[in-house]
Amino acid sequence: MTQPSAVAVLLSDLFPLVWSGLITGCLYALGAMGLVMIFKCSKVVNFSHGNVAGLAAFLVYGLSSGVLLQLSWGMAVGVTLVAIVAVAVLTYALIAPLVFASDLTATIATLGIGLIAQGVTLLVFGADIVALDLPVPPFRATVLGLRITGYDLTVLAVALVTIGALFFVIDHTKLGIAFRAMSDNPFAAEVCGLSLKAVHIFAWTVAAVLGVVGALLIVPTTFLSVTTVAVFMLQAFAAAVVGGFTSLPGALIGGVLIGVLMNLFTYYVSPEYSSTFLLCIILVALNIFPNGVLAAAGGGSRV
């Protein structure tokens, strides 16, 4: 009788693990979609994504905790978003001359910008670990044996609204048409009189905002250090790879897949080898479906 009950115990954990993986996966998806937007448009893998989002999380912390200022949380987020959009525009301004010269040089330049962001974070906030909470409604419920918290629902709601809004803009607005034209055929976009730089800046700023949203939502599950968000973005990077790096819906699915798989691996196998497992996922994805899960499933996508 002991054997079946062990299996039952293992399986009883499965549902909550998948659920929490789904929640974190939504956040990986936010990060991944930012990477994909920049890559589709500028053909640059933005390695500064994690460190800039990390700087943003620290800014929110600094502005709301009294380290820099004593603002309300919402005010701090508002100020941070403005600051990070400025950073994104500045980043693009710095690498724009490289984007049009060589994709590879521009990609490597983002590494440098990431290091600068990390350096600024260290300089201003130090190397200490801090706590940054999210003002979520104190909600707790159990549905079919699944514990659902206010945090879970907040993440789901914010992710759904953000991703929904992004897809709406890209699918149904003139700006979205410009973005899709840029990523499919930049020459045609230029011939039609589009400002390539304006479309690039749109992608970079949206990506930066997605990064900040992802960072602010992930930090409460752990703590905030100089490397927390960069590590989080590593998972987002894997999510983007699983999605094929050029598909926004692919990045969404990749994010959720990575979230669930990492959760299952950490729980059932070993938390120590989770980074190894992540790299294995990247390798397997690149070998088996280099164009992403959606392309492998025969779906493909317009965005």
């Binding site: 003139k174 048409i177 410009a178 899709r180 034209a181 499919d184 055929n185 020459f187 045609a188 976009a189 230029e190 011939v191 039609c192 009189g193 589009l194 400002s195 317009r302």
Partner: protein, 246 residues
């Protein structure tokens, strides 16, 4: 009559090599169709790209009397200089409608809707397929979409680069029928680069012959009726002396 577009000493050089276009000068009057004829590599497409602001060039460009050589492609489109590239360069993943919106990107929304109705009336072939992804259109339909997209910007001058490329003869005729119609209706000048002699001679008011990046001759439409003029056209087309052409 003042010229709509005056091109003076236009030169295009890629890298350190010999110039692809060297001191080319010609003018385009209002509602005039000027064709550039020459063999492959004679510099036709380079001229078109330079006029559209897509490649760096030297020389003076006066559009409606104002210098435009320092303007970006976007600014030139806003002024009414619109390029319809060789190979069509439609955006395959966008629908027909979205491609047309892209063409009228800088135009006010109400005006864009008007123009779209006009373009779809002009090209009934694509009017029934507005929600279809552009890559699913046939070659002829894609060419019509490319021209339609160019018209969406409300051009005063259309730079039309090889509209017959890769099309079956029947479709070429249909595309040129439409172009003749656009010309008759609108207040539009065209610079045409084309390999199809018969169609070029049908549409153009004048032809400039290009060889190795230079203009080596010019004929007016009425002059093209003589045998000598036709021979000159054939020479320019083949990029060879007449005895080679025989």
């Amino acid at each position: 009559m003042t010229d709509l577009f005056a091109i003076r000493d236009l030169s295009v050089t890629y890298g350190a090599g010999a110039p692809a276009v060297e001191r080319v000068s010609f003018t385009v009057g209002a509602r005039e169709v000027v064709a550039l004829l020459g063999a492959n590599g004679a510099g036709k497409s380079s001229i078109m790209k330079a006029l559209a602001g897509l490649v760096p060039a030297s020389g003076e460009l006066l559009f409606e009397g104002e210098p435009v050589s320092a303007l970006s492609t976007r600014q030139r489109v806003a002024r009414g200089i619109v390029y319809v590239p060789e190979g069509r360069a439609i955006v395959g993943s966008l629908t027909v409608r979205e491609n047309l919106i892209l063409g009228g990107y800088q135009v006010h929304a109400a005006r864009r809707r008007e123009r779209m109705a006009m373009v779809l009336e002009l090209f009934p072939e694509i009017a029934s397929k507005v929600e279809r992804a552009a890559w699913r259109l046939s070659g002829g339909e894609q060419q019509m979409l490319a021209i339609g997209r160019g018209l969406m910007a409300g051009p005063k001058l259309l730079l039309l680069d090889e509209p017959s490329l890769g099309l079956a003869p029947l479709l070429v005729r249909r595309v040129f029928d439409r172009l003749a119609g656009i010309r008759a209706d609108g207040d539009l000048a065209i610079i045409l680069v084309e390999q199809n002699l018969q169609m070029t001679m049908r549409l153009a008011d004048g032809i400039h012959f290009l060889r190795s990046g230079r203009i080596v001759g010019h004929r007016h439409r009425d002059d093209l009726r003589t045998g000598a003029a036709r021979q000159e056209v054939i020479d320019a087309y083949l990029g060879a002396a007449s005895h080679h052409a025989a």
